[in-house]
């Protein structure tokens, strides 16, 4: 009866292989060993500070108010009064225009930024030497329909601006330093990263929840995710958005103001012809003046009061010595 004994050499080989595998398993286990169970709260590693696109301030040239029926002429004058677009946009720079494209409605409803305004501001930017003008927003209705029905898409195309539709990969979860609401929240980050200057193009509208929707509320369109929950503390989110993004310039279009049934409106009777165009480096001041177009005082808008307390701007727009002008001519 012969045994099929294993040779010593084979035995050692087998033992070595087994030993190595066992040791490798043990080493891997030791390396990955974690005795503490995972914590309940998520630690954020995506903290950002303010995204500052502003240019140095020039005394007496912070805010301008131009009266006139034609958007294109009033906005040109308004920007001219502040030093022209060359003050804000340097040659070779990329610019982001952030209009209100919230709803898929035609321009005559005035629930969104007027395409004429987009067209003119784009022209001004290119005239100042901008390399590329981008337009972005995260609308409430379907994005593509919004850009098309508001005719902002065609205005952009006619003037060489590129629309950045809010794709999934354009959003990034961000935590704003010192914020309570913008913590690990999806923000439309990619367009902001691409550019050197950011110009807000807002309109003046009545709003049930925030009382009014103007240049500060306009940045709501930078939020992604399930942002409707922020309506539970609308003033805080508006203020935090102003803490997150310091724009180069805001243009507040008060040519046709939505005085009722905002922010969607829908009827001519909701509009008032105010023929006012505001350009401002201080969006708190812009909104403070814009409030008067809705027969409101800055104190009626809690977010303005909060923003002023945090040093984000002033509600006393008179102290900025705004420059006034009047232009005729439609267009």
């Amino acid at each position: 009866m012969t045994q099929n004994k294993i040779s010593r050499r084979d035995f050692i080989v087998r033992c070595t292989k087994a030993g190595f595998s066992a040791a490798a398993a043990a080493a891997l286990a030791g390396w990955l060993y974690e005795s503490d169970p995972a914590k309940l709260s998520v630690q954020f590693d995506n903290i950002v500070d303010v995204m500052n696109y502003s240019t140095p301030s020039v005394a007496g040239k912070t805010m301008s108010i131009v009266i006139g029926p034609g958007r294109q002429t009033t906005v040109t004058k308004a920007v001219e009064l502040l030093g022209g677009m060359e003050r804000f946009v340097k040659p070779g720079e990329n610019v982001l225009l952030k209009p209100n494209v919230g709803f898929a409605m035609p321009p005559r409803v005035c629930a969104t930024t007027h395409p004429d305004l987009i067209a003119q501001v784009t022209k001004l930017c290119y005239q100042a030497g901008a390399k590329k003008v981008f337009i972005a927003d995260n609308p409430i209705n379907d994005p593509k329909s919004c850009f098309e029905l508001t005719q902002i898409a065609s205005a952009a195309q006619k003037n060489g601006a590129e629309i950045l539709l809010p794709r999934q990969d354009y959003f990034k979860p961000i935590t704003l330093k010192g914020a309570e609401l913008i913590t690990n929240w999806q923000i439309l980050y990619e367009p902001l990263k691409k550019v050197d200057k950011v110009i807000g193009l807002a309109i003046v509208k009545d709003h049930k929840r925030s009382i009014a929707s103007m240049s500060m509320k306009n940045w709501y369109g930078m939020l992604g995710g399930n942002r409707s929950i922020f309506h539970q503390d609308i003033d805080k989110i508006i203020v935090e958005l102003a803490m997150l993004i310091k724009p180069t310039l805001v243009i507040l279009d008060g040519t046709q103001v939505m005085v009722s049934n905002g922010p969607t409106g829908g009827s001519e009777s909701d509009l008032k012809q105010a023929n006012t165009m505001i350009a401002s480096c201080d969006q708190v001041a812009a909104d403070s003046f814009g409030a008067s177009l809705l027969d409101l005082k800055p104190q009626d808008l809690p977010y303005l009061v909060k923003a002023e307390k945090l040093g984000l701007g002033t509600t006393d727009y008179q102290s900025l010595k705004p420059l006034y002008a009047q232009v005729t001519g439609a267009g």
Binding site: M1, T2, Q3, N4, K5, I6, S7, D10, F11, R14, C15, K17, A18, S21, A22, A25, A26, L28, A29, L32, Y33, E34, S35, P37, A38, K39, L40, S41, V42, E180, L181, T183, N184, N226, I229, F230, Q232, D233
Partner: protein
């Protein structure tokens, strides 16, 4: 003493231990209750749980380190776990023994190796790929890993049935999704009538894992060709269908030692000898491997495509559950939390939130004795992978060091004014307010317009979502005060 005798004793020991540990998993200090019994003994020894969580979380949670023993021993002596320890395997072996006759010729053909035995390797690959799929991975191992599977079947099916029918337990326990649990369990047990240890041979991913790592085993089954008379008797009781009479498939050998007993010529032994007739690796083809990996890559995204995710279902997790995407990377679906929960409020989810969430713990406030007790942290205490974090009472209640953080909230209660008795019918009640356990209460009252009765209101800042109010509400169906997952403290949402 024969090795088979020792093996049988070992199987009986571990099977009895398993059932005992499941049975004592109830809150209390008597010897038949939790005390310090290591009720996660088998789950901790199960290397598939460890490897799965390592792939999904990139960390090895401390208690799972015990499985290293299993792995090292398997590397050294083969699939001893399958043959001597695994209680599910012991069950299958026992059933198979009674399911088939004793005629030798029939037995030999019954235990023939079948190529489909390599399916379990593909199942293992699919499950590991799903677990390792980067940031959005999911631990689906618990669905088929025998230890969680058997633990769940015993916890959520066998023990409650025994408890209810023999009246051992004072109160009947209920577990939803029972039909699914029964079907899965019974199917595998009854399949033994078709082929002995069907589950172990064709499906078990744990066995597959062992089959992949036992190739360097120092001790193994050997057939001495010079003694062998080719009578094929050693195949007649081979549990792993690894055919010691022909080319022994080492990856399939379950270390049951039956072939040693059956051989009349002392040709089969379990030793270090080098056998000429041995195939060390399993029958895996490269093509099969790729196909399995591909299936794994597609499966998880496919499941999530349906959109029936956790977010949209009304799933409320137990207190201490990690944020959902971390939770789903760790939950073994073992049912321990459901078994231990003193009020029976933790239930296994069904398919309402997709296959991913099947058998994961959710709260059903209308089942059980009371909703989630305020001063109880049992579920986290027992979770083998800390998918439910083991909270201290201070952390759960937001006291002491956790004072600024506040209590753990698992949801918020909403009064359905169309059904609530004082609101809808002017009938006085307020059972919800009475039973709200937090102090100050999260349910307050205001008189109605006639000042004749008081109506309940919920303060969302104080409500922790424990569901005791929903449980006590006398209105039928879901009750008139309903807890939803809004405002959970583990998700970074703001519900003001």
């Amino acid at each position: 003493m024969k090795l088979t005798t020792a093996r049988r004793i070992s199987q009986v020991f571990f099977f009895a231990l398993f059932i005992w540990l499941c049975a004592v998993t109830t809150v209390g200090e008597k010897f038949w209750q939790q005390r310090g019994w290591s009720v996660n003994f088998f789950l901790n020894l199960d290397p598939l749980g460890a490897i799965g969580t390592v792939l999904s979380t990139h960390k090895l949670y401390a208690p799972l380190l015990w499985s290293l023993i299993t792995i090292i021993l398997t590397i050294l002596i083969g699939r001893f776990f399958c043959g001597l320890v695994c209680p599910f395997g012991a069950l299958h072996q026992f059933v198979s023994h009674f399911a088939h006759g004793k005629k030798t010729a029939k037995l030999i053909s019954l235990h023939k190796y079948h190529k489909a035995q390599n399916i379990k390797y593909y199942i293992l690959i699919i499950l590991l790929v799903i677990a390792g799929l980067g940031g959005s991975s999911s631990l689906m191992i618990g669905l088929l890993d025998p230890i969680p599977l058997f633990t769940r079947s015993v916890n959520l099916l066998i023990l409650p049935i025994i408890g209810t029918s023999t009246k051992i337990t004072a109160i009947n326990r209920f577990y939803q999704t029972s039909l699914l649990t029964l079907t899965v369990f019974l199917t595998f047990v009854l399949l033994n009538f078709y082929k002995p240890r069907f589950f172990c041979l064709f499906i078990c991913p744990l066995g597959a894992l062992f089959g992949l790592i036992n190739r360097f085993a120092i001790l193994r089954i050997n057939r001495n060709l010079s003694n062998c008379t080719n009578c094929k008797l050693c195949n007649s009781h081979c549990q792993g269908s690894c055919e010691p009479a022909e080319t022994i498939k080492l990856s399939e050998c379950l270390v049951c030692f039956n072939c040693l007993d059956d051989c009349k010529d002392n040709a089969v032994d379990f030793n270090t000898a080098k056998s000429e007739t041995i195939q060390v690796s399993p029958d895996l083809s490269r093509r099969g491997f790729i196909a399995a990996a591909f299936t794994g890559l597609l499966t998880l995204p496919a499941l999530r495509l349906a959109g029936a995710s956790y977010k949209d279902s009304n799933l409320i997790r137990p207190p201490g559950a990690l944020p959902e995407n971390e939770f789903i990377k760790r939950c073994l679906k073992c049912g321990q939390c459901m078994r231990l929960c003193p009020t029976n409020v933790i239930q296994p989810a069904g398919l309402e939130a997709g296959l991913e969430n099947l058998w994961t713990p959710v709260m059903n406030n209308r089942i059980g004795s009371s909703g989630c007790q305020l001063n109880c942290v049992a579920c986290g205490y027992i979770c083998p992978t800390a998918a439910i974090r083991p909270l201290t009472l201070a952390e759960k209640l937001g006291k002491g060091d956790f004072g600024t953080k506040g209590p753990v909230k698992i949801g918020t209660a909403f009064v359905d004014r169309s059904k609530c008795l004082p609101w809808a019918y002017g009938i006085p009640c307020l059972v919800c307010q009475e039973n709200c356990p937090v102090s100050p209460k999260a349910i307050y009252t205001q008189p109605d317009d006639d000042k004749t009765l008081l109506r309940p209101y919920v303060d969302p800042q104080r409500c922790i979502g424990c569901g005791i109010c929903q449980h006590e509400c006398p209105v039928g169906s879901k009750g008139a005060i309903i807890v939803t997952p809004d405002g959970q403290s583990r998700e970074n949402k703001f519900f003001l």
